[in-house]
Assembly symmetry: C2
Amino acid sequence: MFSHKFDDLVHALRRLPSVGPKSAQRMALHLMMKNRESAMLLANALSEAAQHIHSCEVCNSLTENRVCDICASHHRDETLLCVVESPADVMAIEQTGSFNGKYHVLGGHLSPLDGVGPDEIGIPRFIGRLSEGKIQEVILATNATVEGQATAHYLLEACKHLPVRMSRIAQGVPQGGELEYVDSHTLSQAVHQRMLFK
Amino acid sequence: MFSHKFDDLVHALRRLPSVGPKSAQRMALHLMMKNRESAMLLANALSEAAQHIHSCEVCNSLTENRVCDICASHHRDETLLCVVESPADVMAIEQTGSFNGKYHVLGGHLSPLDGVGPDEIGIPRFIGRLSEGKIQEVILATNATVEGQATAHYLLEACKHLPVRMSRIAQGVPQGGELEYVDSHTLSQAVHQRMLFK
Ligand SMILES: [Zn+2]
Ligand SMILES: [Zn+2]
């Protein structure tokens, strides 16, 4: 419709999560009708982000530096480590304002049928981080899904021999719920009421 | 969160229609986590579109050429002209596959309180187009809103002296509409403008 470049734009917008053909059209028209400036601004933001944002060398979250702000901060408790599946989960927990430790981002969960084993989610690297000896408690904050639970369970077993307290965020996150979609009060409670395993 | 460039991206995404803060975050994370390629593709599509798409010299719709494909086509009825408010309306009518004439895009509707008069929506230019003598019927397809109706009425008056047939898209109960749920203004119009079969 209209032109090839317009169609290219509609197709590219459809790659955004939960954007169907109708929304993509509406977005493209909106940008082309009265928001040329927004279109250029978004184009630049996308290209800058895609070129400069990468994984933090320490926690595997997202950053544009070598090490992310949370890892670099001296105002956070270095003895407390929260293990999550993705940077979206870091963001969700940070937004509760109720956690002041450090993070470790696995970048996924165990899923043997998809060929995702301990190596694929960097468990050896995580164990290595614990072995440095600073961390006294690990909060397992993987999702409350079947895979997230299995991953938490696996980590619990894998850390059995280490002199580290292990906990799991409390039930309170609804069954099958993914952290990034849970309201911040529930999530904050789940962090506070974590169950102590060891 | 994460980095300045990440925040810039979230802010830029919020300029898209019906994208709130949560969706913008989700989109940014989605693009940064597993879709670097989509981010670059969207960046390029946006910048290409913003730089090359402009108004058609003839109909005022969107095109990347001097004249849009519909205006340039020899397979469409040049005697039939459909007047709409925006390129989105051209797209909606084209997608029905039931119209084979040409278009004229006003780029808005009359709205005296907002300082939008006949000149602002190019009515002189539209009258000029009719005066060329090719067009035999004008279909007024502005929205069925108060402003759209007023604009259609204004156009009808403005074209009174021209030897051109004028029509207005039908208004009535939408396909699948149940009478008890249709607003009474629509229903009253549907009764008054009933189609006579015999
Ligand atoms: Zn980090
Ligand atoms: Zn045109």
